[in-house]
Symmetry: C2
Subunit: 432 residues, 2 copies
């Protein structure tokens, strides 16, 4: 059971388009045919707009005007990101019928790279949750087990890629919303360093932590897409301390305190030589939460006052709790962030890459709100949100399965050293 793009890489696709074996219009037709309504990954499909873009891409390629590896490639865009002329619903009744007037900056970047925007994908309401099952559009289903959550908030983007409907999707990540659904759905997801892809035209969740990220079947495809959007790779900083004995980057294992032991074991097995290190996960999460709460409520205060009933009940409850985060706690959390930044910077002086599970559990059943580790809404972000607080690049790559469900390995590095992440991921997938 696979979609049109299952098993294909961006490199394959680019070759095929340039050889003339396939056309953008043909790829688009394949994508549209493999949209599976039962997954609920898409909230809007735009066959006409996509067809026009595919035709233009085909003409450009035929004329020898090559925009690079995304040229003519079907891409899905999360529904909190504005695409001019398409509904942008944020997964919320508050934006029922709302049509974006202009493209978000990241969409402009996609178009400049020649991508063909197939449609908009389902999001946890206002991206305010990592489970992906709370939306006016109903829950997105996990292609790997349709009874289970896809993770969120970029739920539909992950499901669309995992189902093989598109080879690439844009998501956003404020506490893990690209990486969590990537891990749950068995694909790769990359959150760049803070600010690397501009957030203009993206509905804000918490401005200090909001990132746009890319989601694809493999880490290498994430790399290709990220570079296509942001420009060529910088020179790779030489690995700390001259590199590990095997010549690759020096990797530290960050102890994922409290993670499901099976998940931890599966991911740890990929890094047998990495020494264990600890970071103050508890303090980091508390600081993250205080800042996210205050910033999220700032975005929603008027809506909560004027039309609370338009929210899904879990979202409203979260916002009401967020409203109570005191100002002194917020500003203290910003100070605490500086201390955590120093601690992690010290670790990243000694290591090139930090590794840990992306999520400490596998995908829960849709409708389940709590598990052995506590409320899912908190559990799912517990290992991803630190890298939002710190703004560091973080990549989730498939790391096998536990009880048949995908788990993700998360790799983190210094700002500007993103290529090390992708190199480390390549070594993992090659078994080096």
């Amino acid at each position: 059971m696979g979609g049109f793009f299952t098993g294909r890489t961006l490199a394959d696709i680019a070759r095929s388009l340039r050889s003339g074996a396939e056309t953008p219009a043909g790829l688009l037709a394949g994508a549209l045919e493999s949209v599976d309504p039962d997954l609920n990954a898409f909230v809007t499909v735009d066959p006409d707009g996509a067809a026009a873009a595919a035709e233009r891409a085909g003409e450009e390629l035929a004329a020898g005007y090559d925009r690079g590896p995304l040229h003519g490639v079907p891409v899905a865009v999360k529904d909190i990101i504005d695409v001019a002329g398409l509904p942008t619903g944020m997964g919320s009744a508050h934006f029922d019928g709302h049509v974006a007037e202009a493209d978000a900056l990241c969409v402009t970047m996609l178009r400049d790279a020649g991508a063909v925007i197939v449609g908009k994908t389902g999001t946890h309401e206002f991206a305010y949750g990592g489970t992906g099952d709370v939306s006016v559009n109903g829950p997105v289903r996990n292609p790997r087990d349709r009874e289970r959550m896809p993770g969120g908030s970029s739920s539909g983007s992950a499901a669309a890629v995992a189902a093989g409907t598109v080879p690439l999707a844009l998501g956003t990540d404020t506490g893990g919303s690209v990486r969590i659904p990537a891990a749950f759905c068995g694909i790769a997801g990359f959150k760049p360093p803070y600010g690397a892809i501009p957030t203009g035209g993206v509905f804000p969740l918490a401005v200090s932590f909001d990132h746009v990220g890319v989601m694809a079947a493999t880490a290498d495809d994430c790399r290709i897409a990220y570079r296509a959007l942001t420009g060529p790779e910088e020179a790779v900083p030489s690995p700390a301390g001259g590199g590990a004995p095997h010549g690759g980057p020096r990797v530290a294992w960050i102890e994922p305190e409290g993670a499901d032991p099976d998940v931890e074991r599966a991911v740890r097995a990929l890094f047998p030589d990495a020494p264990s290190e600890r970071i103050d996960l508890t303090g980091i999460r508390a600081a993250f939460r205080a800042v996210q709460d205050a910033e999220a409520y700032d975005v929603h205060a008027e809506r909560v006052a004027e039309a609370p009933n338009l929210y899904q009940p879990p979202t409203l409850r979260r916002l009401e709790r967020a409203a109570g985060t005191p100002g002194w706690r917020y500003l203290r959390a910003l100070r605490e962030r500086e201390a955590h930044e120093r601690d992690v910077a010290e670790l990243l002086d000694r290591y090139d890459v930090l590794a840990l599970p992306t999520v400490p559990i596998t995908a829960p059943k849709i409708g389940e709100t709590e598990g052995p580790l506590g409320p899912h809404i908190q559990t799912v972000i517990s290992l991803t949100c630190p890298w939002n607080l710190l703004g560091l690049p973080a990549l989730s790559v498939p790391a096998g399965t536990v009880n048949g469900l995908p788990v993700g390995a998360q790799l983190v590095t210094r700002r500007g050293a993103e290529s090390l992440l992708f190199d480390a991921a390549a070594r993992l997938s090659s078994g080096a």
Copy 2:
């Protein structure tokens, strides 16, 4: 009825010291003799330390080593400012018996200028209030009417200068705490632009708004002291639009909405030609309060949790209310500040100086908590706190009396244009 320094200016004193007519030791003796315990202006007098400093200053001056206009001059320092070896009590039982280990930076600056530190002056508890009557040391009394509040929080510094005990005192000003007591006590008080005098070693109230300022009988003495501490005056920016017809700075009258009409009339009379302008005082005050609340509670959270009973009850009540200021309100207030900055900058493109009353009422009776304009604690800062939110230099100068009680005129200008304030004040006192 006057103290030793009543009617004397820093310029007089400097001349007298340099002519040999007086010595620093003699000035100190005069200051110490005119400490009036009934006013409760001083919480600590340091005759020994001051005598040593006066002796040194005398020797230096005699040897021709001249540190400038504060050399040998007795000065009082507010009791939230650290002076090495002296008790620094913050007006609070929390710091009962606490002795500062090192000088605050502003005290180092005083000593470098040759000043003789006579002692520490009473403060509203933790500087968290503009009335000056809430302190473990009891209320400071207003030398102009001992049944009345001196204003705060730099209450003792104002009373010590107004009583003629010292010609100069340091205060701090977070919402008006230098200017309010200056106005209530009939002296001058200057809050420099934010950051102009460093706050290191000063107990924080709200870090975004905390300023160290100077208090003296006249604006000219404030100018001399400020320049002695911070260095020579910058070139004066030429008055906006080529200056007013009379050749002085162009002054706008800021409508002090809701001020006591007698106070408004008294101050307005000093600026008969100034056109009226309005600023969004309500919005500015709300933003000020949200930020001050959050930042103040951040400073006190542990003390409130561990020893609430050590606070004076009004201070504890204020802190408990401040704790509830939501994070989203705090960060919105910081954004609102930027908008207010733009509005006032636009006004300061058209005018050199903004004028308004320092406080919209005269000094209330000690023990009174509310008046026709509302709770005194809010009323007293209502015209001063805008310039803390915006970090602009603001000077309060004596502007006559209403019903026998002093009122202050407040002058505000652009950052870096402080000399225009002092020029404007000089024109006022000369009647030009």
